[in-house]
Structures are given as structure tokens and as C-alpha cells.
């Protein structure tokens, strides 16, 4: 079958304005959108810019907008599309570098701002720190995050104000706040209680829909909000 892709183009090194190019390629129903981008790049236009690595949805390189929604190019198949025509754009809210490549630094800055690392200053035991399966389960969902930015860049609050830390950073804070072994929950909640923290979330659920790892992002954000409120009431 043939599939037509309308792809957003921008290259700061040539004089052309931002525009769309259209390519029609042969495809199998089971081809990934990423396979089609590779085919276009390999046979039609080597200058097409996009990122990818693992090609099976675990590295987080290739979040893009496919027909207006955030997805990984390697996790959407041709047969998942409603029509043979598809529009491909970069994710929103981050500066565009070239074609589908955006500047990820602001995203990682937000991530780094929430202390996304394990803190426990007690001397470690000679064996592992014990944790029950139930305690482990408490934060299982948010350990799945691959930092692809699909959630944060689907969030209207983030589009309105890019100072908002965004869902991905909150998910990664959640992963530690609810880890029974960690000791820095209070500091993280403090950070997320600030002006551009968790209360910018208006429960729109775009993030949950966008997450390629099926993380219940909105729920995780809700749990963090609740932890802050409970703490403020104490």
C-alpha cells in the first residue's frame, strides 16, 4: 500500500521558512512510522532530521506529533492509522532545532530540578535495604518513565508557561517520594509546592493519553498534590 506523509520542515541553515513537505512511500501495514521516516531519509531526502535509537519504544528518542497527538514514531504502526494520510510534526513547547528535532535541554532542566535521584544518608547495610513487594509496588508505575517528553509537551499548562516543571518531572519526583527507602520526600514536595510546581496541573489528562509507557501520569500528579496538601494540614 501507499502512505502519504506530510512532514514539518525547518532548517535554520537554509533560507526557506517553516513549511511542510509531502512524501508518498510504499508501506506494509505492520511498518512503524519510524520505518517510513527512515525510508524517506534513505531514498528521498537525506536531509530529513529526526532522532531515534532503540526502535521499540524503550529509549524515548522519537516523541513526535502524529496527526496532532504525541506518540513515539517507533510505536505507531501504519495499520494503527485511520487513513493513508498522516501529518508529522515536532512536539510542541520546546524550541525547534531542525525538522522534527527539538531542543531537549529545557525539558531536562525541569527534570533535574526535582531531585530525581535516590537520597538516603544512613550508612547502607551490608546487604540490600529490605523493601516489601507491596512497598515496591507503591511506586512501580512511575519507574517506567523513559523521559521522552511526550507528556510534558502535550500539556496545555506547559504550552502556556514553559516555566511549569511539567508532568515528566513530577512523575520522576513521584518515583522517589513514594519509595519507602528514600529520605528526601519533604524537600521534593517543597519544590513541587512552588509557583511553577504541581498546582499548575489542571487535570486535563493529555499527558496520560500521550504516555507511551501507559503510566497513569495524571493520577501520579494527583498523589503528589495530595501529599503536599496533607503535609500542609499537619
Amino acid at each position: 500500500m501507499q502512505v502519504t506523509l506530510k512532514i514539518f520542515r525547518y532548517n535554520p541553515e537554509d533560507n526557506r521558512k517553516k513549511h511542510f513537505d509531502t512524501f508518498t512511500v510504499e508501506a506494509e501495514p505492520t511498518d512503524r512510522i519510524l520505518d517510513l521516516l527512515e525510508r524517506i531519509k534513505g531514498t528521498e531526502d537525506g536531509t530529513l532530521g529526526f532522532r531515534r535509537a532503540c526502535a521499540h519504544g524503550v529509549c524515548g528518542s522519537d516523541a513526535i506529533r502524529i496527526n496532532g497527538v504525541n506518540r513515539l514514531a517507533c510505536k505507531v504502526l501504519v495499520q494503527d492509522l485511520k487513513s493513508r494520510k498522516v501529518t508529522i510534526e515536532p512536539i510542541l513547547g520546546l524550541p525547534i532545532e531542525k525538522d522534527l528535532i527539538v531542543d531537549m535541554e529545557p525539558f531536562f532542566d525541569h527534570y533535574r530540578s526535582v531531585m530525581p535521584y535516590f537520597v538516603n544518608d544512613d550508612p547502607p547495610p551490608s546487604k540490600e535495604r529490605l523493601q516489601s513487594p507491596e512497598e515496591r509496588e507503591r511506586f512501580d508505575d512511575t519507574t517506567k518513565c523513559i523521559l521522552c517528553a511526550a507528556c510534558s509537551t502535550s500539556c496545555p499548562s506547559f504550552w502556556v508557561n514553559d516555566k511549569y516543571v511539567g508532568p515528566a518531572a513530577i512523575v520522576n519526583a513521584h518515583r522517589f517520594i513514594f519509595d519507602s527507602r528514600d529520605q528526601a520526600a519533604a524537600e521534593r514536595l517543597e519544590i513541587l509546592n512552588e509557583q511553577f510546581g504541581v498546582f499548575r496541573c489542571h487535570t486535563i489528562f493529555n499527558c496520560t493519553d500521550a504516555c507511551p509507557r501507559d503510566i497513569q501520569v495524571t493520577q501520579a500528579i494527583g498523589e503528589v498534590k495530595k501529599a503536599i496538601i496533607d503535609r500542609n494540614l499537619e
Partner: protein, 596 residues
């Protein structure tokens, strides 16, 4: 052109590179350079587990782990290094836990462990639970944890910088040259030491579990600088890649009780490995699959088989095998347990082939997976450059790019992640130690000249050869002739073909002439790396007239210890490949016949 100075430069931000950096940066100024954002590294794709004899649910010993690894390596592994790795394993895993790694847990709160291929109780020969896991995303959790700790410890990163050359001055390491992808600008890194941790090169083959980024940059880089590559003929084909796509289905599936089934509905591994059956070493299973398919027992006579983890089938064979839980009760599974232990595998199958593995078997075929060979090192990660293991001062390698050799002719599952942590750590420590006693070497006059000239010749090539066509032809010929089974004639075809492709590559067309994110140019560079690796692999394989581990020949069916109990070294010289050999370090375990 910008210039930087660090005592230690780590190339690569996967499990090996990040571990090295965490250790080196404790005492030495350290920078990590990575072509990908660190969390995009392929370590994140690892699924099943990391091996350590914690003995959390049943008896196990570091010595058993060591012996299993030697046997798995088909006796080509260096035993001193293997002993070292097995002993260090326990601390390595505990240290990851102390860094916060969210391992799955046993009811008593200890780290959960599952059986994996080739890991056994040395008394009974039966599978042992040695693979420490976090569901089926163990590598993801390792990579995330190490990156998180790097942020905490303020490690300096140069993300999306592509290393294209290694500087050696008067026989000592002096730094690297890197291209900043965002700007196209060249950067000179002057350093006392370089740790290469660039991962593997499975993109040489048509069907692979490996990422696009697995293009052998580290080995190609050192080959161009006159350093040999070791044991390149040993490349692992993992038995269970998703049919046609190559995406990995972890061996953990078999650890949880999954079985391989042929077109006649038979659990065929019983015939090939009567004791451990579906948990035999990978080379053994991939060969069995090849033979089943060749004899017409593929599914519907086609070139794939089934991996079945549906609860009924698991429980049926668990009963036949009399498999027990650690508490002595019969081993039985439910659909929910499978789902909670293998969520990603189930997601991959649903996404890519529309199959739910809890209800239906998965179609699988062998997939190019792991490089046992690579840059020769000793057990401290120091690069050794000749038959006498002479150290090149200041140069280190760790992870899949390195050949210590702890994996020999065939790696056991869970030993790669372990290798990253153990040898990442020691290369980091050794590099910091070396930096404390050595001054900065002087740089050559025009340090980037060699790299620039190579890069420009690709960038400015006005030829008409298409990269994708060259790559596809290489992948096909290597998969067909330097794959699971090999014969002289086929390997010769591969050598000749790859050499023709290298000629054609000189006329390759690069559409993108720009500077910013010129991925087109980078991909051409990566293809030239892959072609070098393919040539070295095929030439090394052709010369080895025996079958050992992952190198199985139809024309030389037996292992030949008299002639071939030795490591291959391959140099790229005068437009060709020169081979040499060095002895295997044998200490406790004399080579024996290998059966499972």
C-alpha cells in the same frame, strides 16, 4: 574549534560509561561524551536481569557462577577475569540497590531472582535463581539509576557529541576529537586517560535486537588507530527475537517457565539439552532452532518457531519437569503473575505483532544480539594491544565494546549487565589512579587533522552510491553467511562482498551538506564503521577452522582445543586485515566437553 581539558574522558553514557564516570569523578576531573542523551543508551533496553550469586532463595555460590560462565564461554573465557567478575558480582548488585535501584522483591523484602540460561546449581546441574531483576526492564532501571546518581554527583556531560577520533601521542593516550551534533563544530578534548564505553555493533546483521546506534564506533575508532580487535568472530545470536523484526523476547520468559515449541507441537529442546532444556546456553538453542527449521519443523514449515508462555503450557511442562518453588511446593503460574513479571514483553507483542502472549505463543527466530569480541582489555579495563598483553598507557575500555574476555565464545544471559558494572567500576578507578600520577600529554600540532580529513572526504563525496543499499547488502550477506551456522564458502562470499561494498562506499552520496544536526553525515560515518567491523568479523571467522560457542561451522563441526584454544587478534592494515593470536588464561577449569 573549542578545546577542553579533563583528566578522564569517558566516551559513552550507558551502564559501563556511567559507572566508570561515577568512580573516576570521585578523585579526577571527568567528562562524559555521548552521541545520545545518556538515557537513550542501549543499556536501557536490557530486560531480564543481572547475575549475582546472592542466594536469596536457594543455595548458590560465586564459584558456581564462575564455572557456569567458563562453561558458557566454551572455555574461551579468561578464567582469572571470570573469577574476579563472579566474586565482584554480589557487591556490584548490592551497590546498585544502595543507589536506589528498584529491584523486584521477594516476600521477605530481599532482591528477587529468576533462573536464566546456563546458570546452574553445580551439584545437581539444574537451573538456579541467579538473575536479579526489576520486572522485565532491569536495564532500564540500571541506566536510570546510574544517570540519577550522576546528576546527584554533578558529573559533567557532553550530550549529543559524537567522538570521531582517539589521540595517541608517543604511545600514550592524549584525548579525543568530537563533533557537536547541534552545531557541527569540532571539539578537542585533551585528557590523560580515555575510557571507551560505546557499546556493540549488531547493526552489521539484518535481523537484530540492537538499536540503530549500535554501529561499533569504539572498535572502529581503535582499529583505525592501529589497535587490534579481539575475538570478533564470536557474535551472539539470541534465540528469541520477534519474527522478522528481531525485537528481543528476554530469556527471562523461559526463566518463568516458557518453552520453545516447533511446528509439530513438540518441545524440541528436550532432545538437544536433556537436563536444562529451554534454559540451555543461547548458542545451543539458536543452533537447535536452525536445525529444526532446516528439517522442516518450523511453524507451518516456515523459518520461525514458537516461544510459549501461556499459563497452561507453562504449568504442563513444570509438572513434567517436577519444577518446585523455593519453599518446595510445585511451581505453577497464573496469567496475572506472568503479566506482572513480563509487562514489557507483553506490550511489545501486542504493539508490534498483535499477539497477547498470555493467550497465544510468540513467533520467534534467532536475532543478532551481542558482541563477545571487541577492544582487548585486562581485568582492570586497561587496553592491551598485542599478543603479550602490553598495556597502552591511559587507554581503557569497558562494557560491550570491550573484550576482557569474560564471555569467551558465548555469553551467558545476565553477564553483560554485570560486566558493565564490574569493569566500568575498575576502569574508572584505574583511570583516576593513573591520572593522579601522570601529567597531561602534549597534543599534536593539528590534533583534528586526521579526523577532519576523513569526515570531509565523506561530506564532500559527490558519488552516486546510496547508503541504504550498501547497508542492506552488508546486513544480508552477513546474516546469511556469518550468522548462526557458517561454512568456508559462505564466509568467503561475505568477505568478498564486504570488500566490494567498501569500494562502493567511497562513492557514497551524502545529501546533507549542512552543519546543524547533520545526521546524514553521521549515518555515513557509522556505515563506514560497520563495514570495517563486518570485514574484520568475516575474516576472523573464516580463519577459525573449528566450532566453538557462537562460531558454529558445518565444515568443522567440533571444538579443536589443540589448535584453537586461543584468542584471535585482528589488525586493520594496508587496506586489509592481519590476524594474530594469544593464549587463553586458564586457572581452575580444564576444558571439558560441554553439554546441558
Amino acid at each position: 574549534m573549542q578545546k577542553h581539558q579533563y583528566e578522564v574522558v569517558v566516551v559513552g553514557a550507558g551502564g559501563a560509561g556511567l559507572t566508570a564516570a561515577l568512580y573516576a569523578s570521585k578523585t579526577a576531573s571527568t567528562a562524559v561524551i555521548s552521541k545520545l542523551y545518556p538515557t537513550r543508551s542501549h543499556t536501557g533496553a536490557a530486560q531480564g536481569g543481572i547475575g549475582a550469586a546472592l542466594a536469596n532463595t536457594e543455595e548458590d555460590h560465586a564459584e558456581w557462577h564462575a564455572f557456569d560462565t567458563v562453561k558458557g564461554s566454551d572455555y574461551l573465557g579468561d578464567q582469572e577475569a571470570i573469577d574476579f567478575m563472579a566474586e565482584e558480582a554480589i557487591d556490584a548488585v548490592l551497590e546498585l540497590e544502595h543507589m536506589g535501584l528498584p529491584f523486584s522483591r521477594n516476600p521477605d523484602g530481599t532482591i528477587a531472582q529468576r533462573p536464566f540460561g546456563g546458570h546452574t546449581n553445580n551439584d545437581t546441574g539444574k537451573p538456579v535463581r541467579r538473575a536479579c531483576y526489576a520486572a522485565d526492564r532491569t536495564g532500564h532501571m540500571i541506566l536510570q539509576t546510574l544517570y540519577q546518581q550522576s546528576i546527584k554527583n554533578k558529573v559533567k556531560f557532553f550530550d549529543e557529541f559524537y567522538v570521531i577520533d582517539l589521540l595517541i601521542v608517543d604511545g600514550k593516550t592524549a584525548g579525543v576529537i568530537a563533533l557537536e551534533l547541534k552545531t557541527g563544530e569540532m571539539h578537542i578534548f585533551q585528557s590523560k586517560t580515555v575510557i571507551i564505553a560505546t557499546g556493540g555493533h549488531g547493526r552489521v546483521w539484518e535481523i537484530t535486537s540492537n538499536a540503530y546506534s549500535y554501529t561499533g564506533d569504539g572498535v572502529a575508532l581503535t582499529l583505525r588507530r592501529g589497535i587490534p580487535a579481539e575475538d570478533m568472530e564470536f557474535f551472539q545470536f539470541h534465540p528469541t527475537g520477534i519474527h522478522k523484526m528481531g525485537i528481543l523476547i528476554t530469556e527471562g520468559v523461559r526463566g518463568e517457565g516458557g518453552v520453545m515449541i516447533n511446528g509439530e507441537g513438540e518441545r524440541f529442546m528436550e532432545r538437544y539439552a536433556p537436563t536444562v532444556k529451554d534454559l540451555a546456553s543461547r548458542d545451543v538453542i539458536s543452533r537447535a532452532m536452525y536445525l529444526e527449521i532446516k528439517d522442516g519443523r518450523g511453524i507451518d514449515g516456515k523459518n520461525y518457531l514458537y516461544m510459549d508462555v501461556t499459563p497452561d503450557v507453562v504449568n504442563h511442562y513444570a509438572e513434567i519437569d517436577d519444577r518446585k518453588n523455593p519453599d518446595g511446593s510445585p511451581y505453577r503460574v497464573t496469567a496475572d503473575e506472568i503479566l506482572s513479571k513480563l509487562p514489557d514483553i507483553i506490550d511489545f507483542c501486542e504493539t508490534y505483532i498483535g499477539i497477547n502472549p498470555i493467550a497465544d505463543p510468540m513467533p520467534v527466530q534467532p536475532t543478532a544480539h551481542y558482541a563477545m569480541g571487541g577492544i582487548p582489555t585486562n581485568k582492570y579495563g586497561e587496553v592491551v594491544v598485542d599478543e603479550k598483553d602490553t598495556v597502552l598507557p591511559g587507554l581503557y575500555a569497558a562494557g560491550e565494546v570491550a573484550c576482557v574476555s569474560v564471555h569467551g565464545a558465548n555469553r551467558l544471559g545476565t553477564n553483560a549487565l554485570l560486566d558493565l558494572i564490574v569493569f566500568g567500576k575498575y576502569s574508572g578507578l584505574k583511570a583516576a589512579e593513573y591520572s593522579a600520577r601522570e601529567p597531561f600529554p602534549d597534543l599534536p600540532k593539528d590534533p583534528a587533522a586526521f579526523a577532519m580529513q576523513q569526515l570531509d572526504s565523506i561530506r564532500n563525496s559527490n558519488g552516486n552510491e546510496n547508503m541504504i543499499e550498501i547497508a542492506d547488502e552488508m546486513k544480508k550477506v552477513m546474516f546469511e553467511h556469518v550468522g548462526v551456522f557458517r561454512v568456508e564458502e559462505g564466509m568467503q562470499i561475505a568477505v568478498d562482498k564486504v570488500r566490494q561494498l567498501k569500494e562502493r562506499f567511497k562513492e557514497v552520496r551524502v545529501d546533507d551538506k549542512g552543519l546543524k544536526f547533520n545526521n546524514n553525515l553521521i549515518e555515513a560515518w557509522e556505515l563506514s564503521n560497520l563495514l570495517d567491523i563486518a570485514e574484520v568479523t568475516a575474516v576472523s571467522a573464516l580463519a577459525r577452522t573449528e566450532s566453538r560457542g557462537a562460531h558454529s561451522r558445518d565444515d568443522y563441526k567440533k571444538r579443536d582445543d589443540k589448535k584453537w584454544l586461543k584468542h584471535t587478534l585482528a589488525w586493520m592494515e594496508n587496506g586489509g586485515v592481519r590476524l594474530g593470536y594469544k593464549p587463553v588464561h586458564i586457572t581452575n577449569y580444564k576444558p571439558k566437553d560441554r553439554s546441558y
